[in-house]
Amino acid sequence: MYGFEYHKPSSLDEAAKLLADNEEASLIAGGHTLLPTMKQRLAAPSAIVDLGGIADLKGIREEGGNIVVGAITTHDAVAGSDVVQAKIPAMARLAGGIGDPQVRNRGTIGGSIANNDPAADYPAGLVGLGAIVRTNKREIPADDFFVALFETALEEGEIVKEVSFPVPEKAGYAKFHNPASRYAIVGVFVSRGPQGVRVAVTGAGPCVFRVKEMEDALSGNWSADALKGITVPEDELNADLHASAEYRAHLVGVMARRAVQAATA
């Protein structure tokens, strides 16, 4: 790992100013993606701006019927939250299935979505519920936030502040995980609620995507059976040593049906 300056601001404004003043600076939250990348020298920021000292970014609250999760809230805190467990149990289960306990004790929702790993779990949760990402500058609907492989709508110097989740009538998540890393080979999040019926798929393609045909089928008949026979084209799916594109396409169908079966109110 190359050397860098270290800053720990206590407000979002101060953090934004540090980013503006240091062109090669990088934010750090849980560090569970950034530090491994820096060790491999795939990233070499000149300065690190630690979000860990900004109290406003941490915690979970209910606001106008939505569940709002601060950017530096850990996966463990989301998984163990009474409010999340009561209102969106599928989201608590999603967070509780990320990596291993020590990854969940450090990794954060803001870091996960800003990184937009194609195999990460949260992108499916955000798009699958129609969440809103609030930054220090604006609000971005989840559908527009995840742009492409490791790419988001965040601009230079923009910081994720929190994510606001509408509370669904029903939601479920099913993931076929990589047995070594626990990342999703395919993960499907389904929900029915204020944002309509949604089916969001992670792990299968370069970026999270929705499956309209499945959403239409579930709108008419919310049951695993309604999804029978619906397939996704394999041409744009990922293929690697863990799974071929053909197998991933198959898993999308299986995981979608399991997610509907697992869906709870």
Binding site: E5, Y6, I28, L35, P36, P101
Partner: protein, 155 residues
């Protein structure tokens, strides 16, 4: 160089460090607490697990600066006046180790589990250990040791 201050095993320590110093390097190289091991250095194996403010973390994937102001406990801080912590005693008693390389991380991880769940079943224990890799034991006696420690600690 910035100064980092933290409480390690009950004692306050302060050192000037390069910002890129990892927590595990700080513990091993600055403080000489070599009970915390480095297995993979890539966040996978859990040999480096310590507690930061009461929760288990992989010390190879945290900067020392991120633990500024925190309470850190390492394997060296578990025993009380020369008496092994019940988890350490259970690993010894139930043969929960062979080469011992993974053991400090296993023990620290298991202590965190029992804080959250004093009576975990076998399945819960095995899931909890997803971040701790052991190349020797096959995990069987590790799970047994944790079950016995849990019983002992519940009293």
């Amino acid at each position: 160089m910035p100064t980092v201050t933290m409480t390690v095993n009950g004692q306050q320590v302060s050192r000037d460090v390069e910002p890129r110093t990892l927590l595990v390097q700080f513990l091993r190289e600055e403080l000489g607490l070599t009970g915390t091991h480095v297995g993979c250095d890539t966040s996978q194996c859990g040999a480096c697990v310590v507690h930061v403010d009461g929760t288990s973390v992989k010390a190879c994937t945290a900067l020392a600066m991120q633990a500024d102001g925190s309470e850190v406990t390492t394997i060296e801080g578990l025993a009380n006046n020369g008496e092994l912590h019940p988890m350490q005693a259970a690993f010894k008693e139930h043969h929960g180790l062979q080469c011992g390389f993974c053991t400090p991380g296993m023990v620290m991880s298991a202590v965190d589990l029992l804080k959250r769940n004093p009576d975990p079943d076998e399945d819960t224990i095995r899931h909890w250990l997803e971040g701790n890799i052991c190349r020797c034991t096959g995990y069987h006696n590790i799970v047994k040791a944790i079950q016995h420690a849990a019983k002992e600690m519940r009293g």
